[in-house]
């Protein structure tokens, strides 16, 4: 039972959310794409081991969509951010930069 930070409602159990796969895949202009490119938009989303910026919607709460960094191996939860806002760096990167500083 992941504990997911809704940007509006705060921490809530995962059963209140629906998953929306990789974040930041915008709707392309369909008419400029080849069939392959269109298929890629429809069907292919990142599936990495490790940190993934992904979309969630708090369907049982405020019904808002948001993006979230989450680690697919450790289930660590990173920062949440709103659509159309700047994507924060992946948590591991944040850590590295802090170490350098």
């Amino acid at each position: 039972m992941l504990y997911i930070p809704c940007p509006y409602c705060g921490l809530r159990n995962e059963t209140e959310f629906h998953y929306g796969a990789e974040a930041g895949v915008g709707y392309p202009d369909p008419n400029t794409l080849t069939d392959d490119e269109w298929a890629k938009y429809i069907h292919i989303r990142a599936n990495p081991k490790g940190w993934l910026a992904e979309r969630w919607v708090h369907f049982a709460g405020c019904s808002r969509w948001f993006n979230l960094w989450r680690n697919t191996v450790t289930h660590e939860i990173g920062p949440a951010y709103l659509p159309f806002t700047e994507q924060p760096k992946a948590p591991s990167n944040i850590g590295q930069e802090e170490q350098k500083a």
């Binding site: 039972m1 629906h18 659509p83």
Partner: protein, 899 residues
């Protein structure tokens, strides 16, 4: 402690209320509890708690429950138990017990009320935090309880702190991400017959803690030697506790075999309780510490570098003699004992942290795997973290070298009867990974999940590796790896985890405001998602077919009424509402005049139809969308997703009004006449109120919106009214409708009526692979605008010829209703040599039409629209039906009846 009586295997035993059943049985002198699962060997109690592999019994009191360790059953009046041989049985009687669940959020959760856990609780309370302390024992104290000692007052004081919630008999079974813990509290079995009826027998706790302290303690390990499974051979800590604390006086003469100082402490306790200690046999070269000094002072004989190698038994199988071996000379000798107490070292309970991927680390000093872990949110304490108390000094030793014959009876997993021989065989078969060896030998897969056998397996493998040709001496048990633990930490009854989700509470039942009327009218119901919808309304003695025919005729010839309240309804407002709908639906909505309705179809981006319904323009910037019953939540989520994540510039708000608005469909040629009696504010004549128009008016002063929408092809009115007035309006229509023989109908009749008109049902005439073109609905696909899914129509396969298309089917036999889902073949098609018959489509909807007086169907048929008039076959078992492909609209192709 009051004395009680309980029954085990039909014999009555006495015990003290609340003590472990194992203690009472041992006190009565019962050593052999059962026979082992595969080898049939007599077995007795070896442990103190959930680690017990042998004494697994079955509760018979109330509902039978198998596979419970006798070491954790608290005896109470009325307890009735029988033995098992490793195979449980399920109860035939229904389980009348209640089970519940609760959710708990807390600052600090402490798991384990031993000294380490109590200290942690104390610390966190001192910091002003709220603490939840859970422990699987009936009383706090952990190890101290086994030693018969009282808690120090500083730890006792925490129980009066109002910030502490202490839950005994509560076992953490799982640790999950973000400090989510599932625990199981046993709440009534220990009360026996005194348990209140309304009390939940087991409560499952879902706990989320800001911080978790794990102080679960440790299990003592047995040792591997030949015939190490005989009744009378016990873990030394358990034996000493039964004798010293529970006053078990059944043993006269004991041998203690040990690899650490714990054996000495236990020997002392046995000695002090009056058991003669024949000797302490220690595998170590030398040992020191207060416990050794004390044992010497007590005059207990001690011999070093000596290990048990075998045992002998009496006719009942119980241990009578112990064969010992000098490790350096291999000289063996025999000693008599009715108790062999073994101390093989401690195995800290590392299960919970491993569930979230924290790996235990080997410590040679402790001869154990530890989890010494501290983060902001999770911390281990006590023995798990390596706090063994300082007087243990264990050897890394799991058993002496045994020959082939001895290793066949040297048990590692008692419950699975898995031996050292099995382990050697697995290694010989070429297996290296401990996971393979576990699977090959089945070690660790029984009820106790390897609580005692897991570490023995690792140790035995390590010893086997070290002994082969003298190499690998640098290996440690850590190089063997650890076995994976899997939740739950202890077995949990299904019923406990199902909790209150039983019967009607297992999934919500959704009902319309007219539900009670339908029930009173004798409706048969159909499950549509979570909704209960009237399926048909049989009159006394009527079959479903008869009822549906009557209902269909009423709708086509007179007037009929249906509850359509379950349809999804979404209020859509905003300056860009029309633009938005143009993008969502395949057809145009920006051109829809105010006060009018239009049917719309929506696709996913892959071009596949996913919902449909009628949308009404209530105002310039205001629409009311209806969706399918099952699609309501899905469609609203779909709209929100596009608005929020793709088109935030569109000024549109969507609001669900599914339950706010109840919808009553009044259908049939006499519907206008009937409605006219109630609606006096507006003119509802054909010309004043045309098809697909919507009007606001009142009935009995109640605001209603009436729409000229028809899902049957008949003249029809949909009356929309707020939830709280729905029943009043329905009953008014019902009362007035008597003169018209107003007939209520359900979903089955609705389906027949719409199929006669070729109207689709999403999910019945579609299966998630149809484009609008496949449904012969090219008329609804706008060429003038972009909409979701349009691009996919260009994909080669979606525009290929030969795709299944929606058509009608008329069976040759007019009374033969083709089964829905039946597959269609070319006329007179035959199976090939593989037994396969090529098909050309399948039947989606099929009914008898009272209007046509015959059976008819809708079907998806390859290239069907170009094959009208063709005769096809439908094999049904051994029968082959024939039918003719036809247009999907069977009745009133000119749409004359709807006005």
């Amino acid at each position: 402690m009051s004395e009680i009586k309980f029954i085990f295997d039909d014999i009555t035993y006495k015990g003290h209320h609340g003590e472990p059943m194992s203690a009472a049985l041992l006190r009565s002198g019962l050593l052999t509890i059962t026979n082992s699962t595969y080898h049939g060997r007599p077995r007795g109690i070896i442990g103190l708690g959930v680690e017990e592999p042998n004494a697994i019994v079955q509760l018979i009191s109330d509902t039978k429950e198998s596979m419970r360790p006798a070491t954790v059953i608290e005896v109470a009046d009325g307890l009735h138990v029988s033995s098992l041989t490793g195979v449980g049985a399920l109860p035939e009687a229904p389980d009348e017990a209640r089970y519940d669940k609760t959710n708990h959020y807390v600052d600090t959760l402490v798991i384990g009320a031993g000294v380490a856990g109590l200290k942690a609780a104390h610390e966190h309370l001192q910091l002003g935090r709220k603490v939840l302390l859970i422990d699987d024992q009936p009383k706090p104290g952990g190890h101290l309880l086994h030693l018969g000692m009282n808690l120090p007052s500083v730890l006792l004081d925490i129980f009066t702190n109002e910030n502490l919630t202490y839950v005994p008999r509560c076992t953490a079974i799982g640790l999950y991400d973000q400090n989510y813990i599932v625990a199981v509290e046993r709440r009534s079995d220990h009360l026996g017959e005194a348990a209140p009826a309304e009390r939940a027998r087991i409560r499952v706790w879902h706990i989320r803690a800001d911080k978790v302290v794990l102080a679960p303690g440790a299990f003592q390990r047995p040792l591997i030697f030949a015939n190490n499974d005989r009744p009378g051979i016990m873990l030394s800590h358990a034996a000493a506790t039964y004798v010293a604390v529970y006053k078990v006086a059944s043993f006269r003469q004991a041998i203690v075999a040990t690899i650490d100082n714990q054996g000495y402490r236990d020997a002392l306790r046995l000695h002090e309780a009056g058991v003669k200690i024949e000797g302490i046999y220690d595998v170590r070269q030398i040992a020191s510490g207060p416990s050794i000094d004390a044992a010497k002072a007590a005059g207990i004989p001690i011999r070093f570098r000596t290990a048990v190698i075998d045992t002998l038994a009496n006719e009942k199988g119980a241990c009578t003699k112990v064969i010992l071996s000098d490790i350096d000379t291999n000289e063996t000798f025999e000693r008599s004992a009715d108790l062999l107490a073994v101390s093989g070292g401690w195995t800290p309970i590392a299960d919970l942290p491993t569930y979230i991927g924290i790996k235990p680390q080997w410590s040679a000093k402790h001869a154990a795997f530890l989890v010494n872990h501290t983060t902001d949110i999770l911390q281990t304490a006590g023995m798990l973290a390596g706090e063994f108390g300082g007087d243990d000094d264990p050897a890394i030793f799991f058993g002496p070298t045994l020959n082939d014959e001895q290793s066949r009876v040297a048990y590692i997993d008692f419950q699975r009867d898995a031996t050292l021989h099995d382990l050697k065989r697995a290694v010989g078969a070429g297996l290296q990974s401990i996971e393979h060896i576990k699977r090959y030998t089945t070690i660790g897969t029984a009820h106790d999940q390897g609580k005692t056998s897991g570490m023995l397996t690792i140790g035995a493998l390590w010893q086997l590796n070290n002994s082969t040709e003298g190499k690998n001496h640098s290996l440690s048990p850590a190089d063997i790896g650890t076995l994976s633990f899997r939740p739950p930490y202890i077995p949990v009854p299904f019923a406990a985890l199902a909790g209150r989700e039983r019967g009607p509470l297992s999934d919500p039942i959704r009902i319309s405001p007219l539900h009670q009327w339908h029930v009173a009218a004798g409706a048969e119901f159909e499950d549509v998602g979570q909704w209960k919808r009237p399926w048909y309304f049989p009159k006394t003695g009527e079959s479903m077919d008869q009822a549906v025919r009557r209902e269909c005729i009423a709708a086509r010839k007179g007037v009929a009424i249906m509850d359509a309240s379950t349809l999804g309804k979404i209020d859509i407002q905003g300056p860009d509402a029309a633009v938005f709908l143009d993008r969502i639906y395949t057809n145009m909505f920006s051109t829809l005049p105010e006060g009018q309705c239009r049917y719309g179809l929506m696709c996913k981006a892959d071009g596949i139809v996913f919902d449909d319904g009628v949308t009404t323009r209530l105002g310039k910037n205001h629409f009311l969308m209806t969706t399918t019953t099952g699609g309501a939540a899905r469609v609203l989520a779909w709209l929100e997703e596009w608005l929020q994540t793709e088109w935030p510039d569109l000024k549109v708000y969507c609001t669900s009004v599914t339950e706010h608005i109840a919808t009553i469909a009044l259908v049939g040629p006499k519907s206008r006449e009937l409605l006219q009696e109630l609606v006096t504010d507006i003119n509802i004549s054909k010309d004043a109120f045309p098809f697909m128009h919507s009007r606001n008016t009142t009935i009995d002063g109640i605001q209603v919106r009436i729409a000229r929408i028809s899902f049957s092809g008949e003249l029809a009115f949909e009356i929309n009214v707020t939830h709280s007035y729905a029943k009043h309006i329905w009953e008014r229509l019902w009362t007035l409708g008597r003169r018209y023989e107003l007939t209520p109908y359900g979903t089955e009749t609705m389906h027949v009526l719409r199929a006669e008109k070729g109207y689709i049902i999403i999910g019945q005439d579609t299966d998630g692979t149809q484009t609008p073109y496949d449904l012969n609905m090219s008329w609804i696909v706008s060429k003038k605008k972009e909409f979701i899914g349009k691009r996919s129509f260009q994909l080669p396969y979606l525009q290929a010829s030969g795709r299944p298309q929606l058509v009608g089917l008329l069976p040759e036999d007019i009374d033969e209703i083709i089964p829905e889902g039946a597959y269609i073949t070319l006329y007179s098609a035959q199976a090939d040599e593989d037994g396969k018959t090529p098909h050309t489509g399948f039947v989606t909807s099929s009914y008898h039409s009272p209007e046509m007086g015959r059976a008819f169907a809708l079907a998806l048929i390859a290239d069907g629209l170009n094959r009208l008039g063709e005769i096809v076959s439908i094999p049904i078992g051994k029968k082959v039906l024939s039918a003719t492909i036809c247009d999907a609209v069977f009745i009133d192709k000119e749409n004359l009846r709807r006005d």
